[in-house]
Amino acid sequence: MIEVVFGVFLLTLLVITAVAVVRTENLFVAVMLMSIFSLLMAANFFILDAADVALTEAAIGAGITTVIFLGALALTAQREKRSPNGRFATLGVISVLAALMIWATFDKPRLGDPDAPVHQHVAPWYLEQTPELMGIPNVVTAVLGSFRGYDTLGEVFVVFAACIGVLFVLSAGQGLDRGLFAPDPESEGLRHHLIPKVVGRLLVPFIVLFGLYVQFHGEYGPGGGFQAGAIIATGVILYALLEGEASALNALPRSVLLGMVVGGALLYTGVGVAGMLLGGNFLDYSVLMSDPVIGQQVGIVLIEAGVGITVCGSLLSIFHAFAAREAR
């Protein structure tokens, strides 16, 4: 019962936040509201017992996306330009679509209904087979890492594509190695603000440590490469904000970041190809070791590492690309 109350409360807040995002013309406010939106969403996922998704939404939606939005906002105007026409047409289209979707949910199985199709078909098989085939308790990791590992590989390449896309578009007209991407030596971050500096410095190591925990504990509890990569990137971005971008780039130069982006994607694909070479199908981890269960575990640990490395490298590359543009 208490969950229903919480759920209704959070969803109401979600609607209010969404309306506020649409209504506001101040883009800074909109970005902040979007961050709140993601946090509410994460809380919702948590109530629905989807801890893995909640962690991802909190780390990426509320954390990294906000930073990147702010980076982009620093390059454009603060306020939205009012578009004179098309407002009512947009409203009409959105209303029709919303009505259709609400109508479609009238025949939706009740929330949490054990007889719903989604709980009757493939899900029981996953729950039953995971301990036997992989010997790990987190079924979500098993599904994402192995049963549907090909989709996860695809998502890693989506992140990879986003990263090279940002680098490609923002480098237009300039050389990659010089000019545009050189950090402003004057930038000192928040070094002169005592309280953020002291508190932030304390936080950074713990954030990175927590990221590593999420990375390597993904087989046993909520977590995995995507969340870990985002959390570690958050830690480094906090460091960049406190100490200035140049210090962050000294610690992790651009070439290293690009190497991470490439290396993680190659590691994941390489594990898949290794499965092929050892006589299985692509992304078949069972053949990696003589014991298929151990093989599955090794495969999942390796590909999760690949995911984490690529996500962390990509997010930091994107952050630096925006930040460098801002410094000019």
């Binding site: 049963f147 990879f160 692509f282």
Partner: protein
């Protein structure tokens, strides 16, 4: 496992694995070489698969060795193999031919990123064509779309950026609609595998959410496929993209979305939703007819060569949808065959445009004055591909239009209207092609004051010229000997219709 059993996975893994490596290739030309090699290898794999399909094989592959529906399955039938041929072939020929053109458009330091994105687009489009899983199709749609935005943004004109932004917004809306539809079906069936969806939908008693899902998926993919009137992103994206990218994407980009639309509709919805074939026809047939007429008319008044050809592409999507919306074997055969033939014609045209652009001052028709005299060979190939676009007998375009007319004539009064529209569309094509030929042959060369210093003959680079002529001659070859593509299209049409009750 034998190599031939691994072909479906290799089709995607080869470009996917090469993409990150290409980012690291800094020395001049190496990124292009690696990309071309990977693309050529993908083309060879696609040819092997097509040969296998023609001899009666179907390719199924279980990713990670997990059986469907628990794991992700790939499944390549005649339709998929035809699309794979188009995607890999267009990519390979555009890369081989357009090296100079791409060097002119994109700075040396940015080339590794560009070629990595090209390979991702190739891998994404191939992944869509090979997949038998609804969510997996979405994932690879994301890869191909993102990579597509990147390579279009490589255009030398600053106007490429707003064009890409529009493309990105529309493409994202399309993908989101598709995902909403897949989510609704998953809610009702608990599965993501297409074949499994079809089977399990039979047991679903309340089909209202599935009907909504069909609507969302159809509209989302229609956006991606630039079906009139959802084509607004296409003309500028094609116009301001680098010429090689236009040749690649114009030949196969929208076709992959059409492929998913037809496959999803026939595999999942046609057999399970009552009277879905009639709804499908009623929705798409008018759009197809309007698209042919209006887009061709707009092309008639367009002054930029690439925009003109882009609007012609929107009209050609209309022909494909016209064939498909008849929901008969002949209609679908004609539509699918037209995908192949239009890819040949439009690919050849845009390759020739890449050659013309290297010498012309701009691609406005008035800037092309006298170009046919300066580049007779390049322009000759352009004209042959244009004849195929119109549908002159002896070219590939004629074969599919002939099939299309035969298919529509089975439908009484409606068929007569459709035939009239096809003929009107072809006449409009004659007119807009003539405008280009007229400008290029008889236009005043005086528009180019600096030509005096340069020798009168300035053909496109030899490699590009050879590739353009190869594609132009393929248009003629498949006009005279259309057996292989017709056979693949007929097999594809029968596979689709086998899902109808």
């Amino acid at each position: 496992m034998s190599l031939s059993a691994q072909l479906p996975a290799l089709q995607i893994v080869v470009p996917l694995l090469t993409a990150p490596l290409v980012v690291l290739l800094k020395p001049r030309g190496t990124a292009w070489a690696a990309t071309t090699a990977a693309s050529a290898m993908a083309f060879a794999i696609a040819l092997a698969i097509a040969a296998g399909v023609l001899s009666g094989e179907t390719y199924n592959y279980a990713m990670g060795s997990w059986p469907a529906p628990y794991g992700i399955a790939l499944g390549i039938d005649a339709f998929g193999s035809l699309i794979l041929l188009l995607v890999t072939g267009a990519s390979t020929l555009a890369l081989l031919g357009c090296r100079r053109s791409l060097d002119a458009d994109i700075e040396q330091q940015r080339q590794p990123l560009f070629y990595a994105a090209w390979l991702l687009a190739l891998a994404g489009l191939s992944g869509i064509a090979a997949s038998a899983d609804a969510f997996n199709i979405f994932v690879f749609m994301e890869i191909s779309s993102l990579a597509g935005y990147i390579i279009v943004a490589g255009g030398p004109d600053r106007r490429a950026l707003p064009a890409v932004f529009k493309y990105l917004i529309m493409g994202t809306i399309g993908a989101t609609f598709y995902l909403i539809g897949v989510g609704l079906i998953y809610m009702m069936t608990g599965t993501l595998n297409l074949a499994d969806m079809e089977a399990r939908l039979g047991d679903v008693t309340n089909l209202d959410p599935v009907l909504v899902a069909a609507g969302f998926i159809t509209i989302g993919l229609a956006l991606k496929a630039a079906i009139f009137p959802l084509h607004v992103w296409l003309p500028n994206a094609y116009t301001y993209a680098p010429h090689a990218v236009t040749a690649f994407l114009a030949a196969c980009g929208t076709k992959v979305a059409l492929y998913v639309l037809l496959r999803f509709d026939f595999f999942v919805f046609q057999g399970n939703l009552a009277e879905h074939d009639i709804q499908f026809s009623l929705f798409l047939l008018p759009l197809a007819l309007l698209g042919i007429l209006i887009a061709s008319s707009v092309a008639l008044f367009e002054t930029n060569l690439k925009r003109l050809l882009a609007f012609s592409s929107v009209a050609q999507v209309g022909y494909i949808m016209l064939g498909a919306s008849l929901v008969t074997v002949t209609g679908l055969t004609a539509g699918i065959l037209h995908m192949f033939n239009h890819a040949l014609a439009k690919g050849g045209l845009f390759l020739a445009v890449a050659g013309l652009a290297l010498a012309a001052r701009g691609l406005e028709l008035r800037q092309l004055g006298g170009i046919a005299r300066q580049m007779p060979w390049t322009f000759g190939a352009f004209v042959i591909a244009a004849l195929s676009l119109i549908g002159i007998p002896g070219t590939a375009g004629f074969v599919s239009k002939w099939y299309l007319i035969q298919a529509t004539l089975d439908h009484g009064a409606l068929g007569i209207v459709a035939v009239l529209v096809i003929i009107a569309g072809s006449l409009l094509a004659v007119a807009y092609v003539w405008r280009i030929v007229e400008a290029a042959s008889f236009g005043e060369a005086a528009a180019q004051p600096d030509t005096g210093a340069i020798s009168p003959s300035r053909e496109a680079p030899t490699v590009l010229l050879a590739i353009t002529w190869l594609v132009a001659l393929l248009n003629v070859y498949f006009g005279v000997r259309p057996e292989a593509p017709v056979e693949l299209s007929r097999m594809a049409a029968e596979i689709l219709l086998a899902h109808l009750l």
